[in-house]
């Protein structure tokens, strides 16, 4: 509850006319950004707790011992807009969970920052999805304070996300060379 209340209070502050229009002093803008960041981080604990309760792996594998109370991280990556995410940029397999806040099904092209271009995306049925890889745009990779090693964005279509519900996808590096996915730009025509 205190986490949610901090977000509520922050959202209250963000209704001030200076916050809405951007006419606050620079120091105040920095404070707004800090409050929003803390509020999102605090509420991340709530979403992690809820999603772990919804997606418990007991039952699916009888007798399997749970590794911890909250086995999955369900981390938010707030710098995805500049193709940066510590989880997807590691060499480990990872899962991406998409929660659809709309009251109707949605289809979403998901873009995930990754290190290479040989990846397999699997849905909950075990079906392998079509994927595509494109390079992170040069303008983004040159951003001075972007602490990211991702060179590519992995793209796949998350179709039929249920209304106010979620789907999860498993992403892993492929052992076999999927060289056909190596993105190369079309030759410049003159």
């Amino acid at each position: 509850e205190p986490h949610l209340t901090f977000m509520r209070e922050t959202m209250g502050i963000m209704q001030h006319h200076d916050a809405v229009t951007g006419t606050e002093k620079q120091k105040v803008a920095l404070d707004y950004a800090k409050r929003m960041s803390v509020a999102f981080r605090a509420c991340g604990t709530n979403t992690r707790s809820v999603l772990n309760q919804l997606s418990t792996n007991e039952g699916a594998q009888p007798g399997r011992r749970r590794r911890s109370a909250y086995p999955f991280e369900f981390k938010s990556c707030s710098l995805l807009n500049i193709s940066s995410c510590s989880v997807s940029e590691s060499n480990e397999p990872f899962a991406i969970t998409l929660y659809n806040p709309l009251a109707h099904p949605a289809n979403e092209y998901v873009r995930v920052p990754v290190l290479g271009y040989n990846y397999v995306v699997t849905d909950y049925n075990g079906a392998e999805l079509n994927t595509q890889v494109v390079p992170v745009p040069a303008g983004v990779s040159k951003i001075k304070h972007r602490a990211s090693v991702a060179k590519y964005e992995l793209i796949f279509l998350a179709s039929d996300l249920p209304p106010v519900g979620y789907k999860t996808f498993y992403v892993q590096k492929s052992d076999t060379d999927r060289g056909h996915m190596n993105p190369s730009s079309a030759p410049r025509k003159t």
Partner: protein
């Protein structure tokens, strides 16, 4: 052909040899369109006179009503696959963009990256992106009201008094929360934004939106400091998306649907799976 094209079965975008967008094919039409980045130089005023204030946090006020182009040629790279086709454009050292069309989406996405805006010439700059079509809009365009109904705007006009505009650019700018659009009997062009922006239609068939600004003088309306965000070093870099929807004038349902999906996208959560194989995860 010297043209670059990207698209899907419903929508095609063509680019000229200089790297600029030049044509759109959608809804059975092939129409002329262009898109570029421009900037206004912020006015420097005498803040003691009410009608002669500087451009600042509260007001947009370009110097001399002039606009400047940022590039005459764009470096491009084209990537085509079975899910998305995209053109990476570099306009200059501080403006770049990705234009993309997904396989089964009815819109084109323009993901812009602007900044840090250079101020070495001691001039404040306000950067806009302008889409220019051949639609005969007769000065009429529409902006939304907080994502709800659309409000009709007419260039150089107010409904309830005879208007004499002294500042033709700033006087025609309106707030845009999610959408700006114009149309004629044959075609309609709508641009959806991902954040509140200023926007206008300064000539028939053209829509423009302000994407970033950096100013060196306070406008004396209260904030007491210029809009010059140097806390992170060289000034801020901003990145955002515009969605262009083009078609017959009746296609507004697509705009509403796209508006919902882009403003309320799925939340993403990442979990390391180093301890689980794909079968264990399932």
């Amino acid at each position: 052909s010297s043209l670059i094209s990207i698209g899907n079965k419903d929508l095609q975008l063509l680019f000229d040899t200089n790297g600029f967008l030049t044509e759109i094919q959608a809804d059975g039409m092939a129409r002329t369109i262009s898109q570029e980045f421009l900037y206004y130089v912020g006015a420097i005023g005498n803040n003691e006179e009410f009608l002669n204030r500087s451009s600042g946090a509260y007001i947009f006020r370009p110097l001399d009503n002039k606009v400047y182009a940022v590039a005459t040629q764009v470096d491009v790279e084209v990537y085509k696959g079975h899910l998305v086709e995209e053109v990476h454009q570099k306009f200059n050292d501080w403006i770049s963009q990705v234009v993309r069309v997904y396989r089964d989406k009815p819109y084109a996405e323009f993901e812009w990256l602007v900044g840090p805006i250079p101020i070495g010439d001691r001039k404040g700059k306000e950067i806009v992106t302008r889409f220019k079509s051949d639609i005969q809009s007769n000065g009429v365009f529409y902006t939304d009201s907080n994502g709800r109904e659309m409000i009709k705007r007419k260039r150089d006009h107010r409904d309830t008094w005879n208007l004499k505009l002294h500042e033709k650019i700033a006087g025609n700018y309106y707030p845009v929360t999610t959408k700006i659009a114009l149309e004629d009997d044959t075609a309609r062009m709508a641009i959806l934004t991902d954040r509140a922006q200023g926007g206008s239609s300064l000539e028939d068939g053209a829509l423009e939106l302000m994407v970033h600004r950096r100013l060196l003088h306070d406008d004396a309306f209260g904030v007491g400091e210029p809009l010059n965000e140097t806390e992170y070093g060289d000034g801020l870099i901003a990145r955002g998306k515009l969605h262009l929807i083009y078609g017959q004038p009746i296609q507004k349902a697509i705009e509403r649907q796209t508006q919902l999906e882009t403003l309320l996208p799925p939340w993403r959560f990442f979990s390391s799976m180093s301890a689980y194989t794909v079968d264990e995860w399932r």
